[in-house]
């Protein structure tokens, strides 16, 4: 667990330089409230307090990572209650939660504070002035995310605002674009994900199948005509990379069988592209993962490991 926390620290540090010092404050509030809510819930339910296992810390960091950088630092407190008390412990505690707690919190905040959650996007800082957003009115500086611009204003406006070709990819890959606190830095997220892969904590099945599906379907249907979409942009936009390496791979809410994991990843990818292109929201990662989470046990019930020597009549 603490390895995952360590892998989330570099994108957090970078977010300070992209969106300002308040990202640190939001994350700190989020982590502290998740740990506090976990301890309080477990005490109230008469269970053993397990805040030292690092799980609540990860949830706290991930909640902060998927909300806009311009929201009130009090917002994650509500998210923590939803994620930990309702999403995790009322469903049985660690191991028994059906939905990814951090994404459940995001969905809940999106429904309860729709304005903040869809408009408090900040343009990236260009001169390391990390304190410049403090004390300013968010409304004065708020901007729109690339996927939102692309969805509502079209490719022309998108190119005008974010540039094109190599320059665009570099900025997006390094993280210099509007977006949620921890989702923008493709490079650091991929490095963290590769480290988790190297240590054997996650396997390639979910991230690869999910990102490949997003790339393929975006290429097919993302453009004005068939097969003219931009697959690389689709992967670098929104929360695709963060979702693929740190959300969809959550042990508890993803399948255990490798075949199930591939289908799970393809399902998330397909739902993401469907929501991005046809749905009401510019980004679909959050809902795509939440929709696939409850499918995990169904997939695992269907795809069983190959038994070495099955006994006659001893079950399927």
């Amino acid at each position: 667990m603490w390895t995952v926390v360590a892998c989330l620290v570099p994108p957090l540090v970078l977010s300070v330089f992209i969106f300002g010092i308040q990202t640190l404050l939001i994350t700190a509030v989020s982590v502290a409230s998740c740990v506090a809510v976990e301890a309080a819930t477990q005490k109230a339910m008469g269970r053993k307090i397990t805040i030292s296992d690092g799980s609540a810390v990860i949830t706290g960091m991930l909640i902060a990572f998927v909300i806009p950088p311009g929201v009130s630092p009090l917002l994650p407190i509500l998210g923590a209650v939803m994620a930990i008390a309702i999403g995790k412990h009322l469903l049985g505690g660690i191991g028994y939660n059906i939905f990814n707690p951090a994404l459940l919190a995001r969905a809940f905040l999106l429904a309860t504070f729709p304005v903040a959650m869809t408009s408090a996007w900040l343009p990236p800082l260009s001169d390391m002035a990390i304190f410049s957003y403090l004390g300013t009115s968010i409304d004065a500086v708020a901007t729109a995310t690339p996927l939102a611009v692309l969805k509502t204003q079209g490719l022309g406006a998108f190119t005008e605002q974010f540039g094109a070709a190599a320059n665009l990819y570099t900025n997006f890959f390094l993280g210099w674009r509007p977006g949620s606190i921890g989702e923008t830095s493709g490079l650091l997220i991929v490095l963290g994900g590769l480290y988790l892969l190297y240590r054997g904590y996650i396997t390639w099945h979910i991230p690869v199948s999910m990102l490949a599906t997003i790339a393929l379907l975006s290429w097919c249907f993302g453009g004005e005509v068939l097969f003219s979409g931009d697959p690389l942009l689709a992967v670098l936009s929104g929360g695709a990379l963060l979702g693929a390496f740190f959300m969809a791979t959550d042990y508890v809410t993803s399948p255990t069988n490798k075949t199930s994991q591939l289908i799970f990843g393809v399902g998330i990818g397909a739902l993401t592209v469907l929501i991005r292109l046809k749905g009401g929201y510019p980004e679909g990662i959050c809902y795509a993962i939440l929709l696939m989470n409850p499918v995990s046990p169904v997939l695992d019930g269907f795809f069983k490991p190959k038994r070495f020597a099955p006994l006659q009549g001893g079950g399927k």
């Binding site: 490991p305 038994r307 070495f308 099955p310 079950g315």
Partner: protein, 439 residues
């Protein structure tokens, strides 16, 4: 060197931890004053005593016979007097009926001499194996003469000697392969003659290069165009020494569920059993001694010991200078499959291959937590089972419904529990499930 073979599915790489004893020659332990010989040493019905209290017995004399079902006779490990019949501690069954023998220290040890076994017929050889009380001393305790009489509808063509010794810490087979290579190989020839076959493989994990070298030389010395004995180096991966996995690694054949290896034309014996068969047939010496590894940071002087069957763990501890202050846990058998014991008042049986005295830093006492469904146990299980599901069902009070996950195919190797990040006692869950589930 031929390429390294292994089994394809699952397995783990625990630290070998064999350094404490792998370079120590087998040492003969002084016979203690009293031995407790458990009557049920093998799989099958326990022996019925053929002696009475106060009887004088000679070393190697039969003291128990099987009256019904599967089994082999039991012999007195020492000359002495039958003191009493009673109950002894047992690592798995808590307690078991036993015979206590008072050692006669004056009696001279029996000398055994070679016989010309090549002249004997197959039936006579089998009778010697049975009469000497030979069982699978690698751990299972299956009577060897039964393995050597495969059903006629399953023709056997391959003998495999198991020298994998994949359990961490244990070096008893390793030392025997180094010190008794010729005897093991001659034992293999006896088995080949009994089975009427010509091909023997000796599987040894590649972390014992000295044993591979010694055994290869010994095997080459006896191999003829008619009888080939070949040492097959194996990849280091636990549980390489599991019968089904070893057969798959060496021959590529898969033993079906609930079937014996003879179903795929293979018979497997441990190298130490092959040596016991050498003793039984060539020297006419019954099985009443055992090479064991005593290891771990919790014992003053780790050793490979040749002990009499019936020697109590407490006597071994005394012989090796006592335990160290770091001692935290005592395990009979290997760290992966062995049983933790709470008493030293437990006698060694024919199948006890080690007693480990483990210090705090050699064990993990983290309390277990809820399953997080990481699926690592599914990857580790060499039998393709779902340990996590068994654990969840047992915890939910439904052990009777675990047949669907193949609990009866589980041989309790412990790979799942070894990899579990939540430290769940998955093997114990499976054992409980096996008691309640329907086949």
């Amino acid at each position: 060197m031929t390429s390294l073979l292994t089994f394809p599915k699952g397995g783990v790489h625990p630290p070998a931890s064999k350094g404490l004893t792998e370079n120590l020659a087998i040492e003969v332990m002084a016979t203690p004053d009293e031995l407790e010989i458990i009557l049920g040493q093998h799989i099958g019905a326990p022996c019925t005593p053929t002696v009475a209290p106060k009887d004088a017995v000679q070393e190697g004399q039969v003291i128990g016979e099987v009256t019904k079902g599967l089994g082999v006779p039991l012999h007195a490990p020492v000359a002495g007097t039958i003191k009493s019949f009673g109950m002894s501690g047992h690592p798995m069954r808590v307690s078991a009926p036993s015979i206590t023998i008072q050692t006669n220290k004056e009696a001279a040890p029996v000398q055994y001499s070679r016989c010309d076994w090549q002249k004997l017929a197959k039936e006579e050889l089998l009778a010697k194996v049975h009469g000497a009380g030979i069982i699978g001393i690698g751990g299972a305790g299956f009577p060897s003469h039964v393995k050597l009489s495969p059903p006629p509808d399953n023709p056997v063509d391959t003998l495999i000697l198991n020298g994998a010794e994949c359990e961490p810490y244990i070096t008893a087979d390793h030392r025997q392969m180094l010190e008794r290579a010729q005897e093991i190989v001659e034992g293999a020839l006896v088995i080949l003659k009994i089975l009427g076959i010509t091909k023997c493989f000796i599987g040894i994990e590649n972390n014992k290069p000295d044993a591979i070298k010694t055994m290869t030389e010994a095997a080459a010395a006896v191999s003829t165009p008619e009888h080939t004995v070949v040492v097959q180096p194996l990849q280091v991966k636990y549980p390489q020494g599991s019968e089904k996995q070893l057969i798959q690694a060496i021959t590529g054949r898969k033993v079906p569920g609930f079937a014996l290896p003879s179903a795929v034309g293979v018979v497997v014996h441990n190298v130490s059993t092959a040596r016991a068969i050498y003793d039984a047939v060539v020297l006419s010496k019954p099985l009443y001694e055992k090479v064991m590894t005593i290891s771990g940071k919790g014992i003053k002087r780790p050793a490979n010991l040749l002990v009499k069957v019936g020697t109590k763990v407490s006597d071994i501890v005394e012989y090796l200078g006592g335990v160290t202050p770091e001692l935290a846990k005592i395990v009979m058998g290997g760290p992966m499959m062995g049983f933790a014991v709470s008493s030293l008042d437990i006698p060694v049986t024919k199948t006890t291959s080690s007693v480990l005295f483990l210090a705090e830093d050699e064990i993990d006492t983290t309390p277990h937590s809820q399953c997080i469904r990481c699926g690592w146990c599914l990857e580790a299980c060499p039998m393709g089972l779902e340990p996590k599901e068994v654990g969840l069902y047992v915890e939910a009070g439904r052990p009777q419904d675990t047949g669907q996950f193949g609990v009866f195919e589980c041989f309790e190797c412990g790979c799942c529990a070894y990899v579990c990040p939540a430290k769940r006692p998955l093997v114990q869950f499976v054992r409980l499930a096996k008691m309640k589930a329907k086949r």
